[in-house]
């Protein structure tokens, strides 16, 4: 198919889509006129039912916990996929990065970058844990916290070298953390079943003060495991991509 034909086929399909979309829009309630009862019901009852003041987290880790489990496993699968796809292929060898240009020096990492990265590493870890452990109160949770925690390791890479990054995040350890994160979430669900309750039922004491760190039962715990899983998955993905760029070379000759 030539590029111009391809474009015309797309434009024809897009015209059809636009027509049906506009037709469909006319039957929808307008923007800001949300008709569904589900969100309103959750907003009313979630705080008293789960003792979590962040209803989004209550939905993610309790009401819709089973869906989130699936989404977490998409993340696990994607990270595993990156590891598999970026493995060392036949005809490739692994070796540490060396300077191949003899007529110029490798530019050293600037002190400004090193300083900033080092300064930020600590605070980023703290904010990451804070986010991962406050799912029940505020717009945070394991997903956001996990990404923050992974960022801390990328700052280590920026401030030092790839080998330092590898030392701080050995693949074996990252794998274990990721497995604990994903398995922990599933295990919480199984524990509920073992007690004769529905899967992922919030079986822990909910506490009395809505929004306290100790409140909302399994929501905090699941958010913590999701944080581990997300952080480990992202460190693994970044590590694999860096390894691909810096270590793996086509075998010459």
């Amino acid at each position: 198919m030539t590029p111009s034909l391809r474009r015309w086929v797309f434009l024809a399909a897009a015209a059809g889509f636009v027509a049906f979309y506009l037709w469909g829009l006319l039957g929808l309630p307008g923007f800001g006129k949300y008709p569904g009862p589900y969100g309103f019901v959750l907003n009313r009852i979630a705080v008293s039912q789960t003792k979590a003041t962040g209803v989004v987290s209550a939905v993610n880790f309790d009401y819709r916990g089973f869906d989130t489990l699936g989404e977490e496993f998409i993340l696990l699968t994607a990270a595993a996929g990156v590891s598999i796809v970026l493995r060392r292929l036949r005809g490739e060898r692994e070796r540490s990065a060396v300077d191949e240009a003899v007529d110029r020096d490798v530019p050293a990492t600037s002190s400004a970058v090193r300083m900033l990265a080092l300064l930020f590493t600590g605070p980023v870890v703290v904010v990451g844990w804070w986010l991962a452990s406050h799912a029940q109160t505020s717009p945070s949770g394991g997903f956001q916290g996990g990404v923050f925690l992974a960022t801390a390791f990328i700052l280590v890479y920026l401030s030092g070298e790839f080998l330092v990054f590898k030392r701080f995040s050995p693949v074996d350890l990252t794998d274990v953390v990721e497995a604990v994160g994903a398995g922990g979430f599933a295990a919480i669900g199984v524990s509920a079943v073992a007690m004769g309750l529905p899967y992922l039922y919030n079986f822990l004491p909910l506490g009395t003060t809505p929004g306290a760190v100790s409140s909302s039962g399994t929501i905090v715990l699941i958010s913590f495991f999701v944080g581990l899983e997300v952080a480990a998955a992202f460190i693994l993905i970044v590590g694999e991509l860096l390894e691909q760029t810096l270590l793996i070379r086509r075998r010459s000759g």
Binding site: P3, R6, R7, F10, A14, F17, V18, Y21, L25, L28, G30, F31, G32, K33, Y34, G36, Y38, G39, F40, L42, N43, R44, V47, S48, T53, G54, V55, V56, S57, A58, V59, N60, R64, D67, T68, E71, I74, L75, A78, A79, G81, V82, V85, L86, L89, T137, S138, P139, F143, Q144, V147, G211, V230, A233, F234, I237, E240, L241, Q244, R250
Partner: protein
């Protein structure tokens, strides 16, 4: 104006798809896929919006304060993280495709057929 956010959704979806269809570079194609997926965030948040309502966090406000739908927000939240991981997987495929075929042009990749 009543349907404006939903028109924006269609527009983002449309430009993303156009980019995918006409793409001459796999990394560009993956970026276009991110644009397509971004339209789902706008759609989800647009569907759940309630005029004059606040975010569904009741830490310092009463539970009877009108708030937007928390379900679509939860969907958008997990969507963002999963998208990042899937993008990484696709980029890994692009790296290997380039190694194997020496090109990242999807239209040339079709004619090579491994």
């Amino acid at each position: 104006m009543q349907y404006f956010p939903f028109v924006v959704v269609a527009w983002i979806l449309g430009v993303g798809l156009y980019g995918i269809v006409t793409s001459r570079h796999l990394v560009h194609l993956i970026m276009c896929l991110i644009v397509v997926q971004s339209s789902t965030y706008v759609l989800l948040l647009g569907v759940g919006y309630v005029t004059g309502a606040v975010a569904p966090y009741f830490y310092d406000i009463g539970v009877h304060t009108p708030a937007v739908d928390p379900v679509v927000q939860a969907l958008a939240l997990t969507d963002v993280v999963v998208e990042a991981a899937v993008t990484a997987l696709l980029l890994a495929f692009a790296v290997q495709a380039h190694k194997r075929f020496g090109t990242l042009d999807p239209q040339e990749l079709v004619s090579l057929k491994g």
